[in-house]
């Protein structure tokens, strides 16, 4: 049982770190600010979720787990608000996104 938990934690942490690094690479590979927001979104959502879930498995049903869960919930509540505020501010300031096909973006 403990071995299984350890294995699950390892898998989750590895997945979380991989997703985090993917997001970090994406922040450098994507061409403009608006697409970079999506890459940063990967690190804020599933990467953080995997890592915190992996830690929760180690802590068991304790106050520590509740705190980890709270951190996760808080991140998932605030990160979209931050991204939205960021893109909205960028859009208002007139930063133009690089679009592949010019659609109705007015």
């Amino acid at each position: 049982m403990a071995l299984l938990l350890d294995l699950l934690t390892t898998l989750l942490l590895a997945a979380g770190v991989f997703l985090g690094i993917s997001g970090g690479v994406g922040v450098h590979r994507f061409p403009d600010f608006y697409s970079r927001v999506h890459a940063a979104g990967v690190t804020d959502t599933l990467s953080a979720g995997c890592i915190l879930l992996g830690l929760m498995l180690q802590a068991g049903l304790t106050l520590i787990s509740m705190k980890l869960l709270f951190i996760l919930l808080f991140l998932w509540y605030t990160s979209p608000v931050a991204s939205h505020a960021l893109t909205r501010a960028a859009e208002h300031s007139g930063l133009k996104p690089v679009l592949s096909e010019p659609r109705d973006a007015s």
Partner: protein
């Protein structure tokens, strides 16, 4: 009133979570005091901008969270593919206004936040019944344009 009930449940729970001391008289008294002060501030904000909670929503929200988590996982995999294999999965950033059917401010907030929380789509601006969305790929935007998430949030909100 709903706000008062909700905050009188959540604020003490949050305080207990952070402090971790459940049987220390002096600290519990301080905690109670800080809960009252925080609730007071909250009530003043609530009076300026009422949020109109519906108790039924609290019951429906866990199922929505489960569905949303699934969506987040799918969207993450999609974006990660586009990061590591740009040749096979090219990005095609698009921006479009989407219609939204939520009536309350809270419903719109949940919808816009759900859009942003799934990587690959970001809600940039929310107006009365439209949301300006920037998407990493046309496919992600098409998924959203089918209105599945929109319908789910509207159902969550509860028709008036």
């Amino acid at each position: 009133m709903a706000y008062l009930i909700l905050s009188s449940l959540t604020l003490p729970a949050f305080w207990l979570l952070l402090s971790g001391f459940w049987d220390h008289g002096l600290l519990l008294a301080f905690g109670a005091l800080s809960v009252v002060i925080a609730a007071g501030f909250g009530l003043r904000m609530e009076r300026l901008e009422p949020t109109c909670y519906r108790p039924a929503m609290l019951l429906r929200i866990p199922a929505y969270w489960v569905w949303l988590t699934g969506e987040i996982v799918k969207a993450n995999i999609d974006v990660v593919k586009r990061i590591w294999w740009p040749q096979e999965h090219p990005i095609s950033p698009t921006m479009q206004r989407l219609h939204c059917t939520q009536q309350t401010l809270l419903g719109k907030t949940i919808y816009a936040n759900s859009i942003t929380l799934t990587p690959g789509t970001v809600a940039i601006e929310v107006s009365d019944n439209e949301i300006l969305v920037h998407a990493l790929s046309g496919a992600a935007l098409q998924d959203l344009a089918t209105g599945d998430m929109d319908r789910r949030v509207t159902r969550l909100e509860g028709a008036r």
